[in-house]
């Protein structure tokens, strides 16, 4: 391998920035609006009397009082302390597909023709947006083979919850809802495949993998019975292994009368290569904000596109967007629908950006995107396998990895006591954002899950691996110092005194903080 360039002089701003509430000075104003002109005042009268009692505040609004300059400065400081996909090498969020979001798509979303429309507008005035919904649905239908989609769910978990609700509606109609009160999932499926159906009222039966890291087909067969409503499974699973038995699993579940849901939150490994329909699934979903090139993270706007086969289409949330040959319209006429799962028709900005991305890519490049993702990942694996101190889940099982891999620093931990959390903090000093270790529970020890999708270059992959290598060398030389990292980033070492686990101490708002800490 040629010499790898490493950005080893990274130095991030590290402000001990107070909370904006702590910067507040009573009476200080950022903006003082001019008094209302006399003419308007006399015309409008006392507008406050028109406000109904129910929406009137009874107490003062507790906002911070701070001048404009200090507000700007405060948020600039915070922005200097951030990292992310546009600034750093963000291939570290395995299972999340942090791909590049083309600026053009962002520009489209900012166009007033789109940004200024409102979901309550007459559909006749938003025909363009409705067309985009309609056309994007065609794309996800083609990619998955499903017959009908809802773009309403506001994210992957929400789509899984919607699928569980549809399964219930389906069995209610068959008179089997009470009997079928269990779902099956696998330990390396996304945890929402257990959590969302549990929220929808199902008992959760989880299955371990076999010795190769595949979901254990025999265990699934043993778990499936007349009580099973549905299996919720991810593929490839979180550890990057593609389940070649998917169709056999589907067959086993169908044999006991259950439905099959395919969690395709991360579909980057098989776009244009394999479809849920051919494997026999009844439902599937895409995280549009991952696979289809729209930004996500920080709980930002998301879209979980939920697709179903024709016999389940009548249960989908309302409305769907349809075309009568003349114009696009909202279809609420679905008496068997599970109803709305959120307001309006979902995150239109995400759909717009994803649609633009798909149109730019075209079918051939969608497929190429999957191929490059898998090649990138295996190129990285090839380098990582040569490093001492790191291994990966079910190594040497003879199965080619897909778009992501769950690595493990267990050998390093055994050697010098430095683990995944320590590596994570120190790699931050090289400008690598906090990597995704693993979903809970950590069954693969000292994990690190990496997904170098199609956006990353060979050089970036090499740089990342080099940083891993350098950090492991540092760890061996001085493990105690290493454990005090990071030194150059705004990130800090997590408190280990248990405060973060204590609901009496943590606070998600200033109000809660004041209450809990009697300020």
């Amino acid at each position: 391998m040629a010499i790898v360039k490493v950005r080893d002089n990274f130095q991030q701003a590290r402000w001990n920035e107070p909370l904006i509430y702590e910067l507040s000075t009573s009476g200080l104003r950022g903006i003082i609006p001019p008094p209302v002109e006399e003419e308007i005042d006399s015309e409008a009268g006392d507008v406050f009397t028109a406000l109904p009692d129910a929406v009137r505040r009874k107490s003062e609004l507790g906002l911070p009082e701070i001048a404009q300059k200090q507000v700007l400065q405060h948020f600039l400081h915070l922005s200097q302390e951030t990292s992310g996909a546009n600034l750093n090498n963000d291939m570290v969020e395995g299972t999340c597909t942090m791909k590049y979001n083309p600026r053009l798509c962002e520009k489209l979303a900012l166009e007033p023709d789109f940004a200024d429309i409102h979901p309550d507008q007459d559909p006749d005035t938003v025909q363009g947006m409705l067309k985009i919904y309609y056309e994007f649905e065609k794309v996800v239908k083609a990619v998955s083979g499903m017959d009908k989609f809802s773009l309403q769910p506001g994210g992957g978990n929400h789509a899984v919850y919607t699928a569980a609700s549809i399964a219930r509606a389906y069995f209610e109609e068959k008179g089997e809802a009470e009997q079928r009160n269990e779902i099956i999932t696998t330990i390396f499926s996304h945890p929402c495949d257990a959590a969302a159906p549990a929220t929808a009222g199902y008992k959760v039966i989880t299955v371990y993998p076999d010795e190769h890291g595949m979901p254990d087909l025999e265990a699934i067969k043993a778990a499936a019975n007349e009580h099973t409503a549905c299996i919720f499974m991810t593929n490839p699973e979180d550890i990057g292994i593609y389940n070649i038995h998917a169709d056999e699993i589907v067959e086993a579940l169908h044999a006991v009368g259950a439905l099959c849901f395919y969690d395709q939150a991360n579909a980057n490994a098989f776009l244009g290569i394999a479809r849920a329909r051919e494997a026999g699934f009844d439902m599937c979903h895409f995280n549009v904000h991952k696979t289809f090139g729209t930004p996500h993270g920080g709980e930002g706007p998301a879209c979980g596109a939920l697709g179903v086969r024709d016999y389940l289409a009548k249960y989908l949330p309302v409305p769907t967007v349809e075309f009568d040959g003349d114009k696009y319209y909202f279809d609420y006429d679905k008496p068997d629908s599970i109803g709305k799962v959120r307001e309006y028709i979902g995150q239109s900005a995400v759909v717009l950006k994803a649609y633009a991305w798909c149109k730019m890519m075209g079918p051939d490049y969608l497929k190429e995107c999957a191929e490059i993702s898998v090649i990138n990942n295996n190129y990285m694996l090839n380098i990582m396998e040569k490093l001492n101190g790191v291994t990966h889940a079910f190594r040497d099982n003879g199965i080619v990895r897909q778009e992501q891999i769950r690595y493990s620093f267990e050998p390093l931990t055994e050697e010098c006591g430095v683990g995944s959390d320590d590596m994570n903090r120190r790699m931050g000093d090289y400008g690598i954002p906090w990597f995704w270790a693993s979903h809970y529970p950590w069954v693969i020890p000292e994990p690190m899950t990496i997904e170098p999708c199609e956006s990353y270059t060979k050089e970036e992959i090499e740089e990342f691996c080099k940083v891993v290598e350098i950090c492991m060398e540092e760890a061996r030389k001085d493990p105690d110092k290493f454990k005090e990292a990071p030194f150059n980033t705004a990130m800090h070492k997590r408190l280990e005194n248990g405060d973060l686990d204590d609901p009496e101490k943590w606070a998600l708002s200033w109000k809660a903080y004041c209450r809990k800490h009697s300020k």
């Binding site: 549990a198 039966i205 989880t206 020890p445």
Partner: protein
């Protein structure tokens, strides 16, 4: 400042290298020494003590003389206060027990001991759950859950304990393996009892704290599920262990920690039953279910610590009426390994082989492979 009691069983593990599969009993020790075995327990424990040196300002160490602690403290450069007396070169189980009792009088925050399963039994006999303990694994047989993963992690754990980073303790199993049978190639274990150990998952099971439920919370949910789904007019055979004991507590019933109890319509109808008593009860009740937990680090559901629930009992109750309950932590710590059965009856072992559900929380199950 934490007060730590330190006990080294200097002859722990001595039988291992000379193929004696254990060191319990003075005869074995004699034989081991004859075969040229060298006591290595102290040497292994030194790794932990050197780590503890890093927090020497935060700990006061009380220990026993010579090879039972004093020597190793000196070698690690640690100050210690020495109490008691020993006959150097001739220490045994009685000395471990005496040391534990004597050290407990100094009200230590924790007793750190180096040894194997036998040493853990001796500590349990001497002090029970009075004082939290932690084992440095230096013995031949480590089937008990009171030991750190290795001597270094024992040291790290004590460092965290000294710095007050570990706030709670939990009960861990002390297993009793019959060494004589073990030497003949047969593993016969029973659950001997419980000791209290620092509740630090990271060094024990590679699980992260602060995500999901705490182990106690998960156990509470699993126990609630079991209790809520118990059927009327059904005899429940409640197996051994602290997990099933927790269910009995939920039911508000007295429990035999290391024995099998029979429960019918929310009342105990027999306590600490023998196999014969259980078989007798099977004649009197139409519907019977068994509730067992996963015993020990090796993951046995039958044949370790609950031999009363015998092959014959299992055969008559039926596989479909067996309820297995274990916490998620326990199941995840055994990731990649099956649950085991060793009922002593090949036919029943084969009958249990395959897959069984384990209750891990409220309406939450895992399908585990069962092997023999």
């Amino acid at each position: 400042m934490k007060t730590i009691g330190l006990i080294i069983n200097p002859v722990a593990g001595i039988g291992g290298k000379v193929g004696l599969k254990g060191s319990d009993g003075s005869e074995t020790l004699k034989k081991a020494l004859e075969l040229g075995a060298v006591p290595e327990s102290g040497k292994k424990a030194l790794v932990a003590l050197k780590k503890i040196k890093e927090v020497e300002r935060d700990v006061t160490i009380y220990t026993y003389p010579g090879e039972m602690g004093e020597d190793i403290c000196k070698e690690a450069g640690l100050d210690c206060r020495v109490i008691g007396e020993i006959r150097s070169g001739a220490t045994g189980a009685a000395d471990t027990k005496k040391a534990a009792k004597e050290l407990a009088k100094y009200k230590p925050d924790l007793i750190l001991f180096a040894g194997g399963d036998g040493t853990a039994r001796d500590v349990l006999d001497a002090i029970g759950t009075e004082v939290p303990v932690l084992g440095i694994p230096t013995g031949c047989k480590i089937h008990s859950g009171v030991y750190a993963l290795n001597p270094r992690s024992a040291g790290s754990l004590i460092c965290d304990f000294a710095k007050d980073k570990i706030k709670s303790t939990k009960e861990a199993e002390v297993m009793d393996i019959d060494e004589d049978l073990f030497r003949q190639g047969e593993v016969r274990a029973r659950l001997y009892g419980y000791l209290r150990v620092p509740n630090e998952k990271k060094r024990v099971q590679n699980l992260k704290s602060g995500r999901g439920h705490s182990e106690e919370g998960a156990l509470d949910l699993a126990a609630n599920y079991i209790v809520e789904t118990m059927e009327p007019d059904t005899l429940y055979i409640i197996g051994t262990g602290s997990t099933t004991a927790f269910i009995m507590k939920k039911l508000g019933l007295p429990n035999t920690l290391l024995g099998a109890d029979l429960v019918y319509n929310n009342a105990v109808v027999a306590s600490d039953c023998t196999e014969r008593q259980i078989l007798g009860a099977l004649n009197d009740y139409d519907k019977v279910k068994i509730i067992v937990t996963v015993i020990g680090g090796q993951g046995y559901i039958f044949g370790r610590g609950n031999q009363q629930i015998s092959a014959e009992v299992i055969k008559r109750v039926g596989k479909e009426n067996i309820i297995i309950v274990a916490t998620e932590d326990k199941m995840m710590s055994m990731f990649g390994r099956p649950l085991y059965v060793d009922t002593g009856d090949e036919e029943v072992n084969a009958y249990l082989r395959g897959y069984m559900r384990v209750v891990m929380g409220y309406e939450k199950f895992i399908v585990a492979r069962v092997s023999d």
